[in-house]
């Protein structure tokens, strides 16, 4: 028994992504129509060409009807998936497997979230009835647990830690300013970031990803069919997923400076893709920067920086647009926004643009490398799900 991966068996041949933001004038239905039709056009197909659909949404609807009704699908199969903030990636992963299995020729993975209709700050969601002992912490608070733990372990004082977190937010805002589809399209001064009102622990408002509405979609076919649709397909090199035992809050050996699920999913993805030195082999990465300390820790968990050094690398600009390994060149969750079900596919959309050389020139990465990585996380430190994909512009 083993995991085999589906390297180079399937390819993305078209993508769509709505602008993310506060779309007071659009519902989930509208955004699904926009993203799906943009992806059809991108792949040069019609809706009738799609054999099956995978819809990712955390809370903007239940069942396949959430998609089949607005798109007026012709009695096609639709799977509706949810895997917390990794929902969009989960839709993509399962759609890829369906094509690789031979069950379908052409499929669509599509994700959507309509967050701004709730009237609340941050994320909300309903839970099954409980005994009332579950943690009531908000998402920023659970991720902020990383900051003092990381600083304590690696000997950073509070000021340096704040500087590192601020640098990460500043970088992602700077990238997002170059992205017409991003929720926040302005550079933000470091002083503004560092001085923003506190939300949880050392995290201010600018350390948190944008709460937004949006949708993104991909058309997926067998690799051998890809050139029928495009000259520049994106081949799927690796898909991995790790759902942890959620013991971080139970196990004293967990120190809140790492995501074990991310390490497991990264190791699996690198094995599938044949990567042994991600830092030098990958052209760019889109990672789950839900909060600034998350991106910091991810740089080590994904093998982009040695343990205990990501903070220095972040300060040095390693992960800047013009750095050694650009991370979140589209602005990331931080400034592109985070409509839950759409985010995983939005990350792939940036790989689609960058690796095909179609990003706007001001943020197009100049690299001879052909691989991109997306990393999508759901849950909280110590209890999460993690997805890693590697995609590439060339076979082999």
């Amino acid at each position: 028994m083993a995991s085999h991966g589906i390297k180079d068996q399937v390819a993305i041949v078209g993508m769509g992504c709505t602008p993310f933001g506060e779309h007071w004038d659009k519902g989930a239905d509208d955004m699904l129509v926009d993203a799906a039709h943009e992806a059809y056009a991108s792949a040069g197909v019609t809706q009738d060409d799609i054999d099956a659909f995978w819809l990712g949404t955390m809370g903007s609807g239940v069942s396949g009807l959430t998609l089949s009704k607005p798109l007026q699908l012709d009695y096609k199969p639709v799977s509706r998936l949810e895997n917390m903030c990794a929902t969009g990636s989960e839709a993509f992963r399962n759609a890829c497997y369906a094509v690789a299995s031979g069950a379908y020729d052409v499929v669509m993975a599509i994700g959507v979230e309509k967050l701004k209709d709730s009237g609340y700050s941050g994320l909300t969601g309903s839970r099954p009835p409980s005994d009332g002992t579950d943690s009531s912490l908000t998402a920023p608070a659970t991720f902020s647990l990383l900051a003092p733990a990381y600083a304590h372990k690696h000997g950073l004082d509070d000021e340096t830690m704040k500087e590192v977190l601020t640098r990460i937010a500043w970088k992602n805002h700077k990238n997002g300013a170059l992205n017409p589809r991003a929720q926040f399209r302005k550079e933000v001064a470091k002083e503004t970031i560092a001085g923003s009102p506190l939300v949880a622990g050392p995290l201010g408002i600018f350390d948190c990803s944008g709460v937004s509405d949006g949708s993104a979609a991909a058309v997926i076919v067998r690799a051998e069919d890809a050139h029928r649709y495009t000259d520049k397909p994106l081949y799927v090199k690796a898909l991995s997923f790790s759902s942890g035992p959620a013991t971080g809050a139970l196990d004293p050996s967990y120190d809140y400076t790492t995501f074990r699920e991310v390490r497991a999913s990264a190791e699996e993805a690198y094995k599938q893709a044949g990567i042994n030195d991600p830092r030098s082999q990958i052209a760019m990465a889109e990672v789950h920067d839900c909060f600034t300390p998350t991106e910091l820790v991810l740089m080590e968990d994904l093998g982009f920086a040695e343990e205990g050094t990501a903070w220095k690398e972040a300060l040095n600009g390693t992960f800047d647009l013009d750095g050694d390994l650009p991370v979140n060149p589209d602005g990331g969750l931080k400034s592109f926004g985070h409509p839950i079900g759409a985010s995983g596919l939005r990350m792939l959309f940036e790989c689609w643009l960058q690796l095909r050389g179609e990003a706007p020139p001001e943020r197009q990465i100049d690299s001879d490398k052909t691989l991109g990585l997306t990393h999508n996380l759901g849950g909280q430190p110590g209890a999460c799900v993690s997805f890693v994909s590697v995609v590439g512009s060339e076979i082999g």
Binding site: P129, T133, S136, A147, A249, L250, D251, P252
Partner: protein, 465 residues
């Protein structure tokens, strides 16, 4: 011989400086402090803490809990059941409430004393009054527990030589159900009624005890009628036990057992103590300490708890906690009410803070798990109660966004001495003071109330010095 075999008290962490009332309102207030239950405490949780303190120094397992309060967390539903559950007492424990009036303290104490087996009276009160009222500034929040048994259960440290009571129907103080403040008749009327009733009860109690007032070493006078208490204090002279109202206020129902505990904290063998309670009549008990009291050490004296309190509580926060000021809620959904069946299924965890320990690996699971996180053994766990185990903070945060009656929420990840980790809310702490490595202990609290359901669970608080 039957008598008191142990006791415990609980004075909450916060104090309100009465001058802050005067400063804010231009009226009310006065000198000294009152004890204030935190936003996450009620009479049930304070009762649990007092009972834990009583049992901490004893190996006794009470077979009955007699809980009394004038401010019950629930009506219709028994509150003593949550105390029984939080103490991890067995199902055969008989846990009952005596509620509504300050006088119900006498029912709990006399009931526990008069029954058979090891029994515990738990008396708790949370006193409220209209802003600027005497009840507001003069009240206090506290709880006390008295453990009764026979010599074969544990050494009796004090026994009752004589007990008597008198009763009269008259309007002294009264409150309709649901009201946040009591109404009080002109004080001079009550004073006359009480002095007559008290002298009658004291005379009969002394007669039964076969002691004269001159033989008494200490006199405790408890009661919410301040003028009558002062009037009666003349009989005590310098034998009067400090009623602590300057430091913590008058904790109503809990005052009688709290002052008795305070006296016992300092008592020598062979002391005779007259306890008088003025509440819709009078109750008098003549107690005598035994030689065993010399060897009895309470887990925390009343004086030490008063000493360790914080007087850094602002009046506006006090008003908010007691529901006299409504602040703008966060733009977040209200918390979900706990479900009755899930809470019932997890009673050991939710109320008694009992986790599971893997018999093969020793790994402790909080909450309890059926499958071990260390080795994967299935259904090979034993129960392990962690409520009394100290712990150390591994990491922490301050959540400014989460729903709380008193934001911000402090959250800590704590590692227990001897194994086991839990992510807890922290209480009774200044958010700016929390550090990795700080020592904490668990405390039973009310997380929130949703749709009429009090959500009780455990939090961390700084370890008592």
């Amino acid at each position: 011989m039957r008598g008191i075999i142990g006791y415990g008290t609980y004075v909450p962490y916060y104090r309100l400086d009465r001058s802050k009332i005067t400063a804010a309102m231009g009226a009310g207030g006065g000198r000294g402090h009152r004890a204030v239950a935190s936003y996450d405490e009620d009479t049930t949780t304070m009762g649990v803490e007092a009972a834990r303190n009583a049992l901490e120094t004893s190996s006794a397992t009470p077979s009955s809990i007699w809980f009394a309060t004038a401010n019950p967390a629930y009506l219709d539903k028994t509150n003593a059941t949550a105390i029984q559950a939080a103490l991890d007492l067995p199902q055969e424990t008989w846990a009952v409430d005596a509620g509504g009036a300050a006088r119900s303290a006498e029912a709990a104490v006399r009931g526990a004393m008069g029954t058979t087996g090891i029994s515990m009276a738990v008396v708790s009160d949370l006193r409220t009054g209209n802003p600027t009222s005497n009840d507001e500034s003069g009240g206090g929040d506290a709880a006390a527990a008295l453990l009764f048994g026979d010599d074969e259960d544990a050494p009796v440290i004090a026994q009752a030589l004589g007990v008597a009571a008198s009763t009269a129907e008259f309007l002294d103080r009264y409150r309709l159900p649901g009201e946040s403040a009591s109404r009080i008749w002109e004080e001079r009327f009550g004073e006359q009624a009480y002095l007559t009733l008290a002298n009658d009860a004291i005379e009969r109690a002394c007669k039964e005890a076969n002691v004269g007032l001159e033989d008494v070493d200490k006199v405790i006078i408890a009661g919410l009628h301040a003028r009558a208490v002062r009037g009666l204090a003349r009989i005590a002279g310098d034998k009067l036990v400090d009623d602590l109202t300057t430091q913590i206020g008058n904790p109503g129902t809990a005052q009688l057992p709290l002052l008795l505990a305070s006296a016992l904290d300092q008592a020598a063998p062979g002391e005779t103590i007259l306890c008088v309670h003025l509440a819709d009549g009078a109750y008098a008990a003549v107690l005598q300490t035994t030689p065993a009291i010399a060897d009895y050490t309470p887990s925390a004296t009343v004086a030490s708890q008063i000493e360790n309190g914080s007087d850094n509580l602002d009046y506006n926060l006090y008003l908010t906690w007691r529901g006299f000021l409504d602040r703008e809620p966060p733009r977040r959904p209200d918390p979900d009410r706990p479900g009755a069946p899930p809470a019932f299924r997890s009673e050991d965890w939710k109320y008694a803070f009992v986790g599971s320990r893997d018999r093969s690996s020793g790994a402790i699971h909080l909450p309890p798990m059926r499958v071990s996180m260390d080795g994967g053994a299935v259904d090979d766990m034993e129960r392990v109660r962690m409520a009394d185990v100290p712990a150390t903070i591994a990491t922490f945060t301050v959540d400014y966004l989460a729903f709380s009656l008193s934001p911000p929420t402090v959250a800590v990840v704590i590692d227990f001495d001897g194994g086991g980790r839990f992510q807890a809310e922290m209480t009774d702490v200044d958010p700016d003071e929390v550090k990795i490595g700080d020592r904490v202990q668990m405390t039973f609290r009310r997380l929130f109330t949703a749709e009429g359901i009090h959500n009780y669970f455990w939090k961390a608080r700084p370890l008592s010095k």
